[in-house]
C-alpha cells in the first residue's frame, strides 16, 4: 500500500508500523467512577468494520509521526491521512 503522508507525500506502507483503531487516542479518564469498565471497553471492545476505518500507523522508518489513516478495509482505499498529534489535540487531549 501507499500511504499519502501529510508532510512527506506518498510513502510505501513497509516504512510504517500498524497499530489499530484510532479510538486508542481517546484514552479514558482514569479518575472516572467506572474507569475500570471504561478502560476495559477502550482496550478490548474496538470496532473492526468492513469498510471505512480510522486507524493509527507509525512512520517508524520515516519521520516518526503517528498518523491517523482513514482506510477502507475492503478496498484499501485511503481517503484521509492526518497527523495523530493534531487529531489528539483537536479531541481535547493535552497533558
Amino acid at each position: 500500500m501507499i500511504i499519502p503522508h501529510p508532510l512527506l507525500g506518498p510513502r510505501d506502507a513497509s516504512e510504517f508500523v500498524y497499530l489499530g483503531d484510532a479510538s486508542l487516542i481517546d484514552r479514558p479518564d482514569p479518575r472516572a467512577a467506572d474507569a475500570l469498565q471504561q478502560f476495559h471497553d477502550y482496550l478490548y471492545l474496538r470496532d473492526n468494520p468492513a469498510g471505512e476505518h480510522r486507524e493509527l500507523w507509525f512512520h517508524e522508518h520515516g519521520d516518526r509521526s503517528w498518523l491517523v489513516v482513514t482506510r477502507n478495509t475492503l478496498t484499501h482505499e485511503i481517503t484521509a491521512v492526518e497527523l495523530a498529534k493534531k487529531v489528539a489535540l483537536e479531541r481535547g487531549r493535552d497533558r
Binding site: 501507499i2 510505501d12 487516542i25 475500570l36 482496550l43 516518526r64 484499501h76 498529534k85 493535552d94
Partner: protein
C-alpha cells in the same frame, strides 16, 4: 531432420547454429528459437508425459500458458524443473530433459495408469485412499508422492544469485503487443516516465506471430521500429523477459526480470531480479490466450492451438507438421490455414463447426463446414482424425481454435470479477480493477489488431491528460480490423472416448460431468475436486471450456457460474528470487557491539540476541567446556571485578520541561521527583496491566533523563513512548531521541569495581560510597578528558557500575578498562555469566517478562503507584490479576544437589498425576550457580510465598526429567543487598 531446415521468414538468426540436447540427444537450433520451436524443427513431437495418466504429450502452445511441454533445464545444483519449453530460450549447450515418467519417456512404466483410467476419475484421491487409515502414512502417501508431481528439485543450494529492486513510473504498460506498443508510444513521446514490460524476449507480442500490416509495413517490422524509438527515449525503460506477476495495492506491481536465464552461465550476475514497480497508472495489454475444443483423444502430440501453429510458422519459421489440419469455431482459426499455405505447408483440411459458408476463400483446401472431430489416431503422435461423419483424414498436426480468452488475470488480483461477453464468447475484465489500471486490446475483448492499436493509443492519451502530462500530437497507427467472428463450441458430443479439458491435470469432460453429478456445482468446488486449473499453468487454456461444460450440465449460463479467483503470481516464480540477496548471513543485518573488535581479539564466543552479536563467554586456555569459562567469569567477578559490554540495552534520551511528568505516565512507579544525579529502577506496564518492560532511568539534568530498556524491546518501547507523546499527551513538552547506538556502555561489577574506576574516571570526581552511593549517576570525563556517563547500578548483585562513552571509543575504552583492571585480576564476562549472576540475585529478565506476567507475579505490585495514573494502572487492578492464590515468582533448588534443572519444567505436587490439569506453574530460567555449587532456578508457582520450604516436582516431559525441588525465596546470593551498597 537437423532442425535447420526452416520455412521462409521468421525471427530466427540463420547465421549461427545453437547446439543443445534433449534427453541426451544432440540437436541444433538457431538464436531466436525457444526450446519448443527448436524441438519442433527437429521433429521431436513427444516432449513429456501427462501428470496422472502418463499419456504422451507434445508442445501445445507457444507461450507461458503451456500445459504439456514441462521440462527440466540444466544439471546438478542448477537444475530447474517444470520449465515450459515454450518460453525457454535456446542457448549453446542447453541441457534439457523431459520429466514425469518412470523408465524412459518413450516407454514409461507408469503409463499403466492410462489403463486404470476408469479408477482414477474425479476426486479419486478422496475416494480411494480413505481406508484403512493405517495404510495412509505407510503406503498411500509414499506411493502417491513417488508417482506424482512433475519435476524434481536438485536438493542442493541454488548457486545462482538473485536480486531485487524498486522502480517508479508514471505509466506501466504490461504487454508489448499492438495495444502495449501504441500505449507506450503515446506515453513515451509525451515525456511521461514509462516502463514497458513483456514476458517474451522479443517485444511485439503476436505481431511477430501474425501477418498483420500496420502503417503499410509488416506488423513485426512496425513493432521493431517502435521498440527502437522507445529504446532511444530517456524517459522510457524497456523490460523484456520480465513477467508482471501480481497487481498489488495503489499501483504497486511485482515483476520478475529474467536476466541470465537465457545464457549458458550467469557469470555472477543476478539470474533474476524481483522488481517492485510503483506506478501512478498502468495499462494492461496482456492480450488473449487461445482455448481448445474438447473432443476424443485430443491430447495427442501434434494437436496444438491454432494460434501457436501460426507462431511457429511465422515467427520461428517452423512447420509443426508436414500435413496440417485446422479445427475451429471462429474466423481467426482460418488464418492458420492461410498463413501456412502461404509458406508452402500442406493443409489437410479446415474443419469448421459452424454451419455456414466458408468465411475465407482458401482454394485447393478441403473444407468441412459443420464438421466435428470425434477422435484422433496415433499412439505417440497424431496420424489421423475421424469426423462425426465417419470420414478419416490423415494429418500429423491439428491446429485447434475454440476462440480466445482475454488474459484477465491481473485485473482480478484485487478481487475484480471478470464478466461474460456473449459476442466474443469470453470473459472480459469487469469492475473492480486494481486502482489506476486501465485495459486495452485483446485483454479487453477487442481482438483485432486495429482495435488493439486504437485502444492502447486512446487509453494512454486519456491517462496523459489525467496526469496533466502534455500530450504529443500523434497519429493513430493504421491497421485492418480483421474478422474475429466466433460461434461458441465447447465439446464434440459425439466423441465417445476421453476428451481432455485440462491437459496438465488430466481432467476430461467426463470428470467434470461426474463432479457435477456428485454435487460439485460451484466452480471453486469443481476446481478442488477435479484439480482442474491447478499446477503451473493454472488452467490458462482449460478453465473456460470447463466452465462451459459445467454450465451446460447445470442449465446455467457461463456468466452466472463465473470463474475461480485469479491470484498472484501470473506464472510460476522461483522462491529464490523472493529471497533475493537476503541469503545466509545476509538474511538480515547483524548488529555488532561497540567493543566487538576487542571481543573478537580476545577469542570470545558469540551468540545472536535480538539481532546483536554478543560475547557469550571468553574461553581461556585449558578450558574444555563452556561451563568452566562461565563459572570462572562469575567467580572472578564476584571476588574481584568483571567487565561486560551492555551497550545493547536500549537507551532513550528524554528531554523537556515535562519529562518527569511524562515518565510518571509511562512508568508504573514515580519519576517526577527523582533528584538530578539519581537513577531509579522503572517498571513499565502495557495498558492491559501486564508487565511490559523494565530498566533504569537516570536524571542527568532538570529537563533531561536517559531511559534504558531491555535489549529486545528497544524499538518497541521507543514506538510506545512516541505514541504516548503524540497521541495521548500531546500537550507535554517532551522530546525523544534514540541513544542506543550513541553510547558504548559497560558494566563494571565486583568488589574491586570502585578501585578500577578510580583509575579511569578523571579527578576530581569522587567515587566514594557517600559521594556516589547506590543509584547515583553523573556526567564524568574518563581517561583524560573523554566524555562519559557513570551510573551506580548493579544487575549482578555486586558493588557495580555502568559507565558509558561515545561508541567511537568503545574498543579503546574496553581495552583501557582491562588495562586498569590488571591489578585486580579483572575479567571480561559474557552474557552467560551475566545471566547466571542475575539469576543468583533473583533479577527478572526476558524469561520472566514474558508478556503473561503481572507485577503481582513478579512480587513487584507495590511498585505500581496508586497516587498517580500511568499506562496500565487501571487495568492492573483487576482482581484476577491480583489473586492471592495466583502464580508468584520463586526460587527453586533440587533436593539432590547434583541434578541439573531445566527451564520449561512444570511444577506438580509430589503426589500429583503427570497431567497438565495438576499443573501448578513452570520454571522460567535455570543456571548452575558457581557461588552455591548447584543448579538453581526461577519460576512461577501458585501461592509461592506461603510455600517456602515445600517440595514439588519439576516435571519436564520433553527432556524426560522429574526432579524434586525445594521452593525457596528468589534471591540466592546476598538477599540483604549488602554487597551492592558496599
Amino acid at each position: 531432420m537437423t532442425g535447420l531446415e526452416r520455412l521462409p521468414g521468421g525471427l530466427v538468426d540463420r547465421n549461427r547454429c545453437i547446439a543443445f540436447t534433449f534427453d541426451g540427444h544432440p540437436y541444433l537450433g538457431f538464436p531466436g528459437d525457444t526450446l519448443a520451436s527448436a524441438l519442433l524443427a527437429n521433429g521431436v513431437r513427444m516432449v513429456g508425459r501427462s501428470f496422472k495418466y502418463h499419456r504422451p504429450r507434445g508442445v501445445f502452445s507457444a507461450g507461458s500458458e503451456e500445459p504439456n511441454a514441462l521440462v527440466q533445464l540444466r544439471r546438478g545444483a542448477y537444475r530447474e524443473p517444470n520449465t515450459r519449453a515454450t518460453v525457454a530460450e535456446l542457448f549453446d549447450g542447453l541441457d534439457a530433459t523431459s520429466q514425469n515418467y518412470c523408465g524412459s519417456l518413450r516407454f514409461d512404466l507408469l503409463a499403466v495408469n492410462d489403463l486404470l483410467a476408469s479408477f482414477l476419475g474425479a476426486g479419486f484421491y478422496y475416494k480411494t485412499f480413505m481406508w484403512p487409515q493405517a495404510l495412509w502414512e505407510r503406503l498411500y502417501e509414499p506411493v502417491i508422492r513417488a508417482s506424482a508431481g512433475p519435476g524434481r528439485l536438485s536438493g542442493d543450494t541454488d548457486p545462482d544469485v538473485y536480486d531485487r529492486g524498486y522502480l517508479h513510473c508514471d505509466l506501466l504498460v504490461i504487454g508489448s503487443g499492438p495495444a502495449g506498443l501504441a500505449a507506450a508510444l503515446v506515453a513515451g513521446r509525451s515525456g511521461a516516465r514509462t516502463i514497458l514490460v513483456d514476458e517474451d524476449f522479443v517485444m511485439g507480442g503476436r505481431l511477430h506471430a501474425e501477418t498483420h500490416e500496420i502503417d503499410g509495413q509488416p506488423g513485426g517490422a512496425w513493432a521493431g521500429s517502435v521498440v527502437a524509438e522507445l529504446g532511444a527515449l530517456e524517459n522510457v525503460r524497456l523490460l523484456s523477459r520480465t513477467t508482471v506477476i501480481g497487481a498489488y495495492d495503489h499501483g504497486i506491481y511485482g515483476a520478475v526480470e529474467r536476466k541470465t536465464d537465457h545464457l549458458p552461465d550467469s557469470k555472477g550476475k543476478p539470474r533474476q531480479i524481483l522488481w517492485r514497480v510503483h506506478s501512478r497508472r498502468a495499462i494492461l495489454c496482456a492480450g488473449a490466450i487461445e482455448r481448445p475444443i474438447a473432443f476424443g483423444a485430443n491430447d495427442r502430440p501434434g494437436v496444438m492451438l491454432a494460434g501457436a501453429v501460426r507462431t511457429y510458422a511465422n515467427r520461428y519459421a517452423v512447420a509443426p507438421g508436414k500435413r496440417v489440419g485446422v479445427f475451429t469455431n471462429n474466423d481467426d482459426g482460418w488464418r492458420t490455414a492461410v498463413d501456412l499455405a502461404a509458406k508452402g505447408v500442406e493443409i489437410a483440411a479446415v474443419i469448421d463447426t459452424r454451419e455456414m459458408a466458408p468465411p475465407v476463400d482458401v482454394t485447393s483446401v478441403e473444407v468441412r463446414m459443420g464438421g466435428r472431430i470425434t477422435t484422433t489416431w496415433g499412439r505417440k503422435g497424431l496420424k489421423a482424425i475421424t469426423l462425426a461423419t465417419g470420414e478419416k483424414i490423415a494429418m500429423d498436426c491439428l491446429a485447434v481454435s475454440g476462440g480466445w480468452n482475454p488474459a484477465v488475470h491481473l485485473t482480478c488480483h484485487q478481487r475484480g470479477r471478470p464478466i461474460w461477453r456473449d459476442d466474443i464468447a469470453a470473459f472480459v475484465p469487469g469492475t473492480g480493477l486494481p486502482v489506476g489500471m486501465a485495459v486495452a486490446g485483446s485483454v479487453n475483448g477487442s481482438l483485432s489488431c486495429g482495435a488493439a492499436l486504437r485502444e492502447g493509443h486512446d487509453a494512454a492519451s486519456a491517462i496523459m491528460q489525467d496526469l496533466g502530462i502534455g500530450l504529443a500530437k500523434d497519429a493513430l497507427p493504421a491497421a485492418s480490423d480483421e474478422s474475429v467472428a466466433v460461434m461458441p463450441f465447447w465439446r464434440v458430443t459425439e466423441s465417445r472416448g476421453r476428451a481432455w479439458v485440462d491437459l496438465q491435470n488430466d481432467v476430461t469432460v467426463k470428470d467434470i460431468q461426474q463432479a457435477h453429478h456428485e454435487g460439485y456445482r460451484s466452480v471453486e468446488l469443481l476446481k478442488r475436486y477435479t484439480t482442474l486449473g491447478m499446477a503451473t499453468d493454472q488452467g490458462k487454456t482449460a478453465n473456460v471450456v470447463a466452465l462451459a461444460i459445467l454450465a451446460e450440465h447445470g442449465g446455467r449460463s457461463i456468466g452466472d457460474i463465473g470463474t475461480t479467483i485469479f491470484r498472484p503470481p501470473y506464472t510460476p516464480v522461483s522462491i529464490a528470487v523472493f529471497a533475493g540477496r537476503s541469503r545466509g548471513k545476509a538474511f538480515r543485518p547483524t548488529r555488532l557491539t561497540p567493543s566487538h573488535v576487542w571481543a573478537e581479539g580476545r577469542g570470545g564466543t558469540f551468540v545472536e540476541a535480538s539481532g546483536w552479536l554478543r560475547a557469550r563467554w571468553y574461553p581461556v586456555s585449558g578450558e574444555t567446556h563452556w561451563r568452566q569459562s562461565v563459572d570462572r567469569e562469575v567467580r572472578l567477578t564476584r571476588s574481584g571485578v568483571g567487565i561486560c559490554d551492555v551497550s545493547t540495552l536500549g537507551k532513550i534520551d528524554i528531554q523537556g520541561e515535562d519529562s518527569g511528568t511524562f515518565l510518571n505516565k509511562v512508568y508504573a512507579n514515580g519519576f517526577a521527583k527523582l533528584p538530578v544525579g539519581r537513577v531509579r529502577y522503572g517498571l513499565m506496564l502495557r495498558e492491559d496491566g501486564f508487565v511490559y518492560d523494565d530498566g533504569t532511568t537516570a536524571r542527568l539534568g532538570k529537563t533531561h533523563f536517559v531511559m534504558t530498556t531491555t535489549t529486545a524491546n528497544d524499538g518497541l518501547v521507543f514506538r510506545n513512548l512516541e505514541f504516548a507523546r503524540q497521541c495521548l499527551w500531546p500537550g507535554l513538552d517532551v522530546h525523544l531521541a534514540s541513544a542506543t547506538e550513541q553510547w558504548a556502555q559497560f558494566s563494571v561489577a565486583g568488589p574491586r569495581s570502585r578501585d578500577l574506576l578510580a583509575k579511569i574516571v578523571d579527578p576530581p570526581f569522587d567515587l566514594a560510597n557517600d559521594a556516589f552511593p547506590l543509584m547515583a549517576c553523573g556526567t564524568v570525563t574518563v581517561c583524560g578528558g573523554a566524555p562519559g556517563r557513570l551510573f551506580r547500578i548493579s544487575f549482578s548483585g555486586e558493588l557495580g557500575y555502568e559507565i558509558a562513552v561515545p561508541s567511537r571509543y568503545g574498543v579503546s575504552f574496553m581495552a583501557a578498562l582491562m588495562t586498569a583492571g590488571e591489578d585486580f585480576d579483572a575479567v571480561p564476562y559474557g552474557v552467560e555469566a551475566l545471566g547466571v549472576m542475575r539469576l543468583e540475585k533473583g533479577h527478572v529478565a526476558g524469561n520472566e517478562l514474558n508478556g503473561q506476567s503481572t507485577a503481582k507475579m513478579l512480587n513487584l505490585e507495590r511498585m505500581i503507584s496508586r497516587k498517580k495514573d500511568c499506562i496500565g494502572n487501571v487495568l492492573s487492578q483487576r482482581p484476577a490479576m491480583n489473586r492471592q492464590d495466583g502464580l508468584a515468582m520463586m526460587g527453586f533448588r533440587p533436593l539432590d544437589r547434583s541434578v541439573e534443572l531445566t527451564a520449561g519444567a512444570h511444577f506438580l505436587a509430589m503426589d500429583a498425576e503427570d497431567r497438565m490439569a495438576a499443573d501448578e506453574g513452570y520454571m522460567t530460567s535455570v543456571a548452575h550457580s558457581p557461588e552455591l555449587g548447584y543448579s538453581i532456578g526461577l519460576g512461577f508457582i501458585m501461592r509461592g510465598p506461603e510455600r517456602v520450604g515445600e517440595t514439588v516436582r519439576a516435571w519436564d516431559a520433553v527432556n524426560g526429567k522429574d526432579i524434586p525441588v525445594e521452593i525457596v525465596p528468589p534471591h540466592f546470593v546476598d538477599p540483604q543487598g549488602n554487597r551492592l551498597r558496599g
